[in-house]
């Protein structure tokens, strides 16, 4: 495997943990923003438990689930509770490490005892092994992983401290932005910048320290890039996230967008650094902590006469981030599914006429990785008769084959969603389907009820999953 594919793999694994949970992040962001804005006790009481427990555990579950199904998700969440309890900081990195890796361990264990369990004891043994291994991993997480991640926070904080004392303020972005994305923003903001800022405040009457971490410019830059150049779910979510981030000051809402496409950190660092440079040139500052880091609270805390200069600086940092993020977001589109890239390359090389040629389309099929398939579209003209029937039959067959996590839905060809993985359709409709969509896995059938293609598809999915598992 080439390095590029490996990185893309890693990226798609991260986004696989984050994207399914975007809704939970939104819920948390909305509750937090509204709770702080109207200072409501009930809403505020959600903030910490959701951030500390719910969100990391969801990520751990999704990570485990991707590796080893529901059972992998369960053990991933169990193991992650260890790092959560064993640390004072938000444990997203812990969840992203322990979720998939504990599922992987459990899978290896299951393989090693496969066939050695007496019939009738499978369920019992499965639950006991999940319990024992999960419990042990949680303790290991508490004892070893949590301190390791906490010390990483220490390193990042130390870096910021060093740069501040050596008057290299813009470079602090190198530490601050990655730390934010890993949800370590509070550790840095409250641990270092606030004390430093308070000291300056006493001497100068204002401090730039309060702006370093609360600057919403880089975050909105990334979200803007997703709004204009993103795709599907992430594009749609970026709008709401942008409002919550920029006006609500809940920066956490944009972190998942970066986690699912890690190179974006570069855009954040560049934006953060240029913003801080502008702050330094203008010699602006805040007269207190801007919390949450929304444009509104920053304006409220701005020193007299600094407002416009601060807005300009924030604007500069958002534009810098936005411009650098554009190609990165565009590129990520293609790596959504690992091999779409190469399929597209292939199509390009073969020229336009290949679109008509089903031979080439089949070749594209053989390059498609079926291991990650979660949705199968069954298309017909009206989207309610033959496709509904075929979808029902295929769904039943998948279930009978032990595949529970793939959903088959029926749809009219004209309403095919932008993002499809596998499309099943009748031979005579396939030309229209392919005109509408490219880069998918196509299954052409004639007999909706007894298509031999169903069995082949199920077999291919199973094989792809086994391959991906090794």
């Amino acid at each position: 495997m080439s390095v590029k594919v490996k990185i893309q793999n890693f990226g798609s694994k991260l986004s696989g943990m984050v994207i399914p949970n975007l809704g939970a992040f939104m819920a948390w962001g909305i509750l937090t923003a509204v709770g702080i804005a109207i200072d409501n006790e009930v809403l505020r009481s959600f903030i910490v438990p959701m951030l500390t427990y719910l969100l990391p555990l969801l990520i751990a579950f999704a990570g485990g689930n991707a590796v080893y199904g529901f059972r992998g998700g369960v053990i991933g969440a169990v193991a992650t509770i260890g790092v959560i309890i064993g640390s004072d900081i938000t444990m997203f990195i812990g969840a992203m490490i322990l979720g998939p890796s504990s599922a992987w361990l459990l899978k290896k264990f299951d393989k090693s005892i496969d066939g050695k369990i007496p019939t009738g004891f499978e369920l019992l043994i499965n639950n006991i092994s999940s319990g024992l291994i999960g419990g042990a991993l949680a303790v290991i997480g508490y004892l070893f992983v949590a301190p390791a991640i906490s010390s990483l926070t220490g390193v990042l904080a130390g870096g910021v401290d060093f740069l501040v004392t050596h008057k290299l303020l813009p470079l602090t972005a190198v530490f601050i932005e990655p730390a934010k994305v890993l949800f370590l923003n509070n550790a840095i903001g409250q641990g270092i910048l606030t004390p430093l800022g308070t000291t300056q405040l006493a001497q100068l009457g204002k401090s730039v320290m309060f702006l370093l971490e609360s600057n919403p410019g880089p975050g909105i830059g990334v979200l803007l890039a997703y709004m204009f150049f993103g795709k599907g779910n992430s594009k749609a979510t970026a709008y709401g996230a942008g409002v919550i981030h920029f006006f609500g000051g809940i920066h956490e809402i944009y972190f998942p967008f970066v986690l699912m496409n890690p190179p974006l950190v570069i855009a954040l660092i560049a934006g953060g650094a240029s913003g801080t440079l502008m702050f330094s040139i203008f010699k602006v500052g805040l007269i207190g902590v801007a919390s949450p880091g929304s444009i509104i609270s920053i304006m409220m805390m701005a020193a007299e006469g600094d407002r416009l200069k601060i807005i300009i600086s924030i604007l500069v940092s958002s534009i810098v981030t936005f411009l650098i993020a554009i190609p990165l977001v565009k590129r990520a589109k293609n790596s959504d599914s690992q091999l779409k890239d190469s399929v597209k390359e292939m199509e390009k090389m073969k020229g336009k006429e290949s679109r008509i040629s089903s031979v080439f389309e089949n070749q594209a099929n053989t390059n498609y990785n079926l291991a990650d398939v979660k949705l199968i579209a069954y298309a017909c003209d009206a989207g309610l008769g033959s496709s509904a029937m075929g979808a029902g039959v295929l769904q039943k067959k998948l279930r009978a084959a032990g595949i529970d996590d793939i959903k088959v839905f029926h749809v009219a060809v004209n309403n095919l969603p932008a993002e499809c993985q596998v499309i099943v359709s009748h031979e005579s409709l396939m030309a229209r389907v392919k005109e509408k969509q490219s880069g998918c896995y196509f299954v052409e059938i004639v007999d909706y009820l007894n298509a031999p293609e169903y069995e082949q598809l199920i077999k291919d999915i199973k094989e792809a999953r086994e391959k991906a598992a090794d």
Binding site: V393, S428, L429, V446, Y448
Partner: protein
């Protein structure tokens, strides 16, 4: 709407016809008389086959005639007609068609359970053979309900 709600009045037996267009027309009369479809729905069902090919032939000897909701479907409903003689739909190996199921659906989902039950029966070769050869509407309904 599930299969056990289908009665003998929803079934036509041994319909005489000599081409697929006429077969769709005649078999959809029941839906028209019940007020479940407008007459333009019938034209739409025929038009989609002209435009897209015989994709409504869903399995060997079986066609599921239907069109889009906006083409004049008034109620979600389903009727059956067996053909004697069997009719060619240019559907290759799946020809000739012996049973036309006519579906009208007012949304994409309410009829799914019904289609699910129906596909169980139609995938059973013995049962579908019995449906093709049913001598009366009552017998046909009995086979449908035998699940």
């Amino acid at each position: 709407m599930l299969l056990d709600r289908i009665t003998a009045s929803d079934v036509l037996i041994q319909l005489k016809t000599d081409n697929w267009e006429d077969a769709i027309r005649k078999s959809s009369q029941t839906l028209l008389e019940k007020g479940s479809i407008e007459s333009r729905y019938i034209d739409a069902m025929i038009k989609v086959v002209h435009e897209n090919g015989p994709y409504i032939v869903i399995s060997k000897h079986i066609a599921l005639a239907h069109a889009r909701t906006e083409c004049g479907a008034l109620h979600t409903d389903i009727t059956f007609a067996t053909l004697d003689p069997a009719i060619h739909f240019n559907a290759g190996a799946l020809d000739p068609v012996k049973l036309i199921i006519t579906l009208s659906a007012t949304d994409a989902d309410t009829h799914l359970d019904l289609l699910g039950e129906l596909s169980d029966i139609l995938m059973d070769e013995e049962k579908s053979e019995a449906l093709f050869n049913a001598g009366s509407a009552e017998e046909f309904v009995q086979i449908l309900h035998s699940n």
